[in-house]
Amino acid sequence: MITGTPKPIGEILEMVEPYDKIIVAGCHGCVTVCRVGGEKEVQVLASTIRLAREAGGRKIEIKEVSLERQCDPEYVELMRPYVEDYQAVLSIACGAGIQFLAEKFTVTPLLPGINTGFLGVTERQGEWAERCQGCGDCVLHLTGGICPVTRCAKSLFHGPCGGSVQGVCEVDKDIKCGWQLIIDRLKALDQMDNYGKLKPYKGWSSARDGGPRRILREDMI
């Protein structure tokens, strides 16, 4: 899923400062699962803003909505009938969702209520960790199902570097050395042969480096 973290409330209050009538828009997709942009978070954020503004002597009217997904046009369109009745939309969906709203509702300012994080997994309740950078050229079959691009702080293809100590990355004691994980897994799978091969230079054109990416499925259009 796409993860994120809430922006500090002070930053949000500053963003909504010019407005007196806004929409706070959540999303039922990834951000609901990682508890940063779902229906519940919309309620809490809207209440918080209302309380802060009223305590400061200037009330704000807030419409609370949560779309099925902010990244799909059919759900985004559901906002169209009323969006122009409001001065701004504070979205707590991921960056893709926020931008999609901005693209569809061209005269309404869009404000980001969260900082979008990464493609990750729920390690346990309340803890998420990155697993994929969407580089567009997957090599997981060679690396024991553990991604060197994402899990190694230097994205090395022939790790680990000298900074790996007892399975921990030198960058942070809470980061496991991705290459130690790869090696442990390759051993368990009896695939250490893969380790000993020189890998070709990675093509980054399929990653973000090639410019904004697009997938076109002719068969579906």
Partner: protein
């Protein structure tokens, strides 16, 4: 070949080589480099010039190489893949070779988190293993990775670094093998303090037939004090300093610890140079270049051979 690396010639002639390193300054003053280089000149066969080590911004390695070359030292350019993508790496390889740098050390580079610009974007377009391969291809085949021909091939003696003490141990020798297959002519090791573990590493490398394929230059760093030993052990990832080493220097009174550190370093070099598979000694006297002559001479490695 006339323009061949002095380090290569010394090693090819069967001598135990000596290399040292020179960290460029945090500023544009060339005199600082010249002053350090004066301690190095005559005591080594080649001198590494570090490339923004620990991700702290310093004068570029290439500039440092040129400054020490002017003083007659064979420069060894360190190149990290942290800060340059493959375009910049190829370009810098061409430039260094054109300016007469004949030794290259391919490194990953410390993560930028440790430097003075932790907010910098890291590159890691290719890794150090692939940099070795790229330099070798550009040298031996005279082509760029794109396949285009170079107007004048690179002339480098290609090296890499290994840390026999990092985790996990079991891939340390396979990793060296990979580096040799990628094209490394020589390797410089992380500072050695744990001689037992290092001997095991060399034996394992021998079993893989690597001792004939690559020149191993054993790294040493003289300890200035017991405090320095403890600090390095705690702060430097993959630094293995056994308790007995710390105890030996720590048993001396404070004012005699530096002399003890040098004595221990000399002993260690003498042991290393007799070891099978050790082709040279790499002395990393960190900010202690003035002691190089004493250490290298003390180990019986002076004067350095002159090979025509």
């Amino acid at each position: 070949m006339k323009s061949e690396s002095n380090l290569k010639r010394v090693l090819d002639a069967g001598h135990i080589s000596v290399t040292a390193e020179c960290g460029p300054p945090r500023g544009a003053d060339p005199e600082i480099v010249r002053k350090k280089a004066a301690f190095v000149a005559g005591n080594v066969d080649a001198c590494n010039v570090t490339d923004n080590q620990t991700a702290v911004v310093r004068m570029s390695s290439l500039a440092g190489c040129m400054l020490i070359k002017e003083l007659g030292i064979d420069p060894l350019i360190q190149m990290v893949v942290r800060d340059r993508n493959r375009i910049a790496l190829q370009s810098d390889l061409l430039g260094a070779s054109a300016l007469g740098v004949r030794n290259l050390l391919c490194l990953s580079g410390d993560h930028q988190k440790f430097g003075d610009d932790p907010q910098a974007k890291n590159v890691f377009d290719i890794d150090s293993m692939q940099l070795i391969h790229m330099a070798k291809t550009m040298r031996d085949e005279g082509v760029f990775p794109s396949g285009d021909k170079l107007d004048g091939a690179l002339q480098f003696y290609i090296g890499c670094a290994v840390n026999p003490f990092a985790d996990p141990y079991e891939i340390r020798v396979p990793r060296l093998k990979l580096k040799v297959e990628a094209g490394a002519d020589f390797v410089q090791t992380q500072c050695i303090y744990n001689m037992e573990k290092f001997k095991t590493y060399i034996e394992d490398a021998k079993k893989e037939g690597l001792l004939d394929k690559v020149k191993i230059l054993a790294g040493v760093t003289p300890l200035k004090s017991a405090g320095m030993a403890k600090f390095m052990r705690r702060m430097v990832a993959g630094m293995d300093i056994p308790d007995e080493v710390v105890k030996r220097i720590g048993d001396e009174p404070k004012e005699k610890q530096a002399a003890k550190g040098i004595e221990m370093c000399i002993e260690q070099i003498q042991e290393l140079k007799e070891m099978e598979g050790i082709a040279g000694i790499h002395v990393m006297a960190i900010e202690w270049e003035e002691k190089l002559e004493e250490i290298i001479g003390g180990a019986g490695l002076l004067p350095r051979p002159v090979i025509e």
